[in-house]
Subunit: 475 residues, 2 copies
């Protein structure tokens, strides 16, 4: 039974060297590759198909909320950047410029507030034009100087950026929260992982925003990962870009705006959270190919086994199954598809045919299940649902175990040393937050849950607390 | 019955000033807008939804052919460009460079052969890795110096670019044709328009290709529009980028490649072909909202009419209908949705409710149809199919009328003067083609049909013909 190919399996354990483990999974599962352009990545088909599923799901959700997709120019004139001072200051250091074409330098968009709001100022005339809700799926470039981490920190990434305009502050506030809730839901229902949802501190908010809401995942190494943000922009950009509207009383008003985004970073998050020592583990909802069928081709029985395998392929076609009939050993194939994270494999050999059954092996927990051939369609559907659920359950358990409540600076230090995320009372003052870095090596505030009230004193400075905050190391 | 709003209708007729008519339709139907960045456009939601439908359709088609989507870096090192000499020469003048970030200048991709094939050279090792079929949907930048025409000629556009690698020349040849056929099918079945499919002359082929196949639409002004290309790249790029594979006999070989693309230019084409003096006319298959329901809200009857309109909205929801219950006059609304090209409108008033009917008005030909309320679901489905079919029929008729066979230079000149596309025998020699421009003002070769043989002499030079060719003016 057939040729071997170089073993492409992982050479390091997740628990032993998390960082190297992550790099190997991403590259060996063919999710992404480094490019010859420093800091840029190639998103390979195995990962791009995940992004397509996220896109499709999220488009349905936001269309139901009245959002429409559009596309704005890649290049932004330097003068646009200067219009909103805070925004310009925040992004200037990361911009790549095109300077060989026009008198004015053109920025490759690091984000599109400025170019979009220039158009909005032409399109919005009256209250009848509001709310305006537009989203775009596109690439952005930010010249990161830290080391590249595929999906987590690259100079180019793909994302969606939603940009809405409202008549009233109240509507804007409400919807800024709604989009954050959508991100939470996307993570829970599709990526099978919980997140911390809350408000960023003043220090950590988006350049130009009134405030920023975020979702933060907790990775197995105890570091948080910012996975999505929803910014209440207030009226700042509207003023800078001259966006105004006539209200129902024919009075000129300045509208309220928000912007919100998630990126291909999500793919890095799910890789870290669900992966194991065999490689990637895909939640079924993110797997384009949900099943791989591996015929056990014993000498002399090849024909009948292959015939049966093809029958099963046909029966399961709604799950986009793969039939791996290549000339490799079954063991090699098992490893290959485990590495790539396909949610379940179906083994079929001569004995199974006799017993009118197949063996199904779950990727998430390795469980082997004998399934009667007649039950296969409904069993696969049930199992895919179970896998999705139990992956969420497992990641929720890990998530909860990573969070510890701390009451004072010592406990905070202890938590960070133990690679946990600390939950603490906080005064939300800039100077206090500034001192955190010195007091607790590498720690930073993540976000502040929206509907919880502190009972004690600030964990950092000991003064009166006004917020609850999550503190941790961060990717 | 209600307020008026500024009339946004067209102020020019399609037959009188085609170019201005096109600009007005694109902007007033809110398909696209100029941006403050010279030569760049904003693709507005009404057009982006068309692009999404094209994307969804085409993804299904190419996935069935074994193509997988991926994403490669936006920026390409200058040195990559220089690797394939012809390619570099062809694109160099149009490149926007980023030079503030790395020692080497980085090009914003005008097309991605070079950056993709650099990765291919790392990924392809043996015949088992072939065929490799990868596609990406992305933005590209080419610094056009001619005047901007929205969708037709802008410095940035969206497209898909497929890039495949094969073991044999034969496979490559066959599939280069298959992708062209897919483009033809996309135009016919979805855009409801025929195209000329054929081979570009040596002079007009893609920089770096062995040969280029193209589809060319014929616009109402008698000019052709190149709408898609499929390039047989031969082994040139593979050699330049060091792509090779071990064949079944463990011998090292150079593979064969093709690349193929269509862009947001398609949206310009369908606007020109189907639009009329009232605005855009969308083929039903490209309309996200296929129906608009307009309640005729006579005083005192508003409630019952609106209730009925909402019932119909619910019945037709699979077609993403719009219910326009805004406070404008019905006439104003009719014009608005005609301008935007929604395939059919449904009028419902108090009398219709009495008669248990609605009035359906087709956008393509203005026909008014009384439909019994109980038949509405099946009637709408039937009508949408009919509209799609009759739009194709009409565009085919116009297409055929625009093509004339010519036998000599005088006839060719006559055809071009009459704003027709000429079909002629042709020698396919470079110097002969060069002389065409002088001999017939503004005319150029479009493409050469693949399965037709010439019987006479070259229409330009009078020497022996080896091909049939289409000649015309071109957008």
């Amino acid at each position: 039974m057939s040729k071997q190919k170089d073993n492409k399996g992982l050479t390091v354990k997740k628990s032993e060297n998390f960082s190297e483990w992550y790099n190997q999974v991403v590259q060996k599962a063919e999710l992404a590759d480094y490019s010859d352009v420093k800091g840029f990545m190639v998103i390979r088909p195995n990962a791009y198909s995940i992004w397509e599923i996220i896109t499709e799901y999220f488009n349905k959700r936001i269309k139901a909320l009245g959002v429409r997709n559009a596309y704005f120019p890649l290049l932004i004139p330097e003068s646009f950047f200067k219009k909103e001072a805070e925004h310009a200051k925040g992004f200037q250091p990361e911009v790549a410029w095109v300077s060989n074409r026009e008198d004015e330098r053109l920025a490759i968009r690091p984000t599109s507030e400025t170019i979009m709001y220039d158009s909005y100022s032409k399109w919005i005339r009256s209250w009848r034009d509001l709310p305006l809700r537009i989203n775009q799926w596109c690439n952005v470039v930010r010249w990161e100087t830290k080391a590249t981490r595929l999906f987590l920190r690259t100079r180019e990434f793909l994302w969606q950026e939603g940009h809405c305009v409202y008549e009233t502050e109240k509507e804007c506030e409400e919807e800024t929260k709604i989009y954050l809730k959508e991100y939470e839901k996307l993570c829970r229902d599709i990526l099978a992982m919980p997140v911390l949802a809350g408000k960023k501190t003043e220090k950590e908010k988006f350049s130009g925003a009134k405030y920023t809401l975020s979702i933060e995942g907790i990775m197995p190494d105890g570091k948080a990962l910012q996975m999505g943000t929803s910014h209440n922009l207030g009226q700042g950009f509207a003023k800078s870009f001259g966006i105004s509207f006539l209200d129902k009383n024919e009075k000129r008003n300045i509208p309220w705006q928000n912007s919100w985004g998630v990126s291909t970073r999500l793919i890095g998050a799910l890789t870290m959270v669900h992966g194991d020592d065999k490689g990637l583990v895909l939640p079924p909802k993110l797997a384009y190919n949900k099943v791989v069928i591996i015929p056990l081709l014993f000498k002399g029985k090849e024909k009948s086994v292959l015939k049966k395998a093809k029958e099963i392929l046909e029966k399961l076609k709604e799950h986009d199954p793969i039939l791996d009939d290549r000339d490799y050993s079954p063991g090699w194939k098992f490893s290959e598809w485990e590495l790539k994270g396909i949610p379940m494999r179906i083994e079929i050999g001569p004995k199974d045919i006799q017993k009118k059954q197949v063996i199904i092996v779950r990727r998430d927990n390795g469980e082997k299940i004998e399934v009667k051939e007649n039950d296969i369609e409904k069993e696969v559907i049930k199992l895919l649902e179970n896998i999705q659920k139990s992956m969420l359950k497992k990641s929720e358990k890990n998530f909860k175990e990573k969070i510890v409540s701390v009451k004072n600076l010592n406990e905070l230090k202890g938590a960070i040393e133990e690679q946990k995320i600390a939950k603490a009372d906080f005064c939300n003052k800039g100077e206090c937050e500034e001192s955190l870095k010195e007091k607790v090596d590498g720690a930073k505030t993540l976000n502040m849950p929206l509907e919880e009230t502190p009972k004690g004193k600030c964990v950092i400075c000991g003064k009166k607390a006004t917020e609850i905050v999550y503190i941790g190391k961060s990717h």
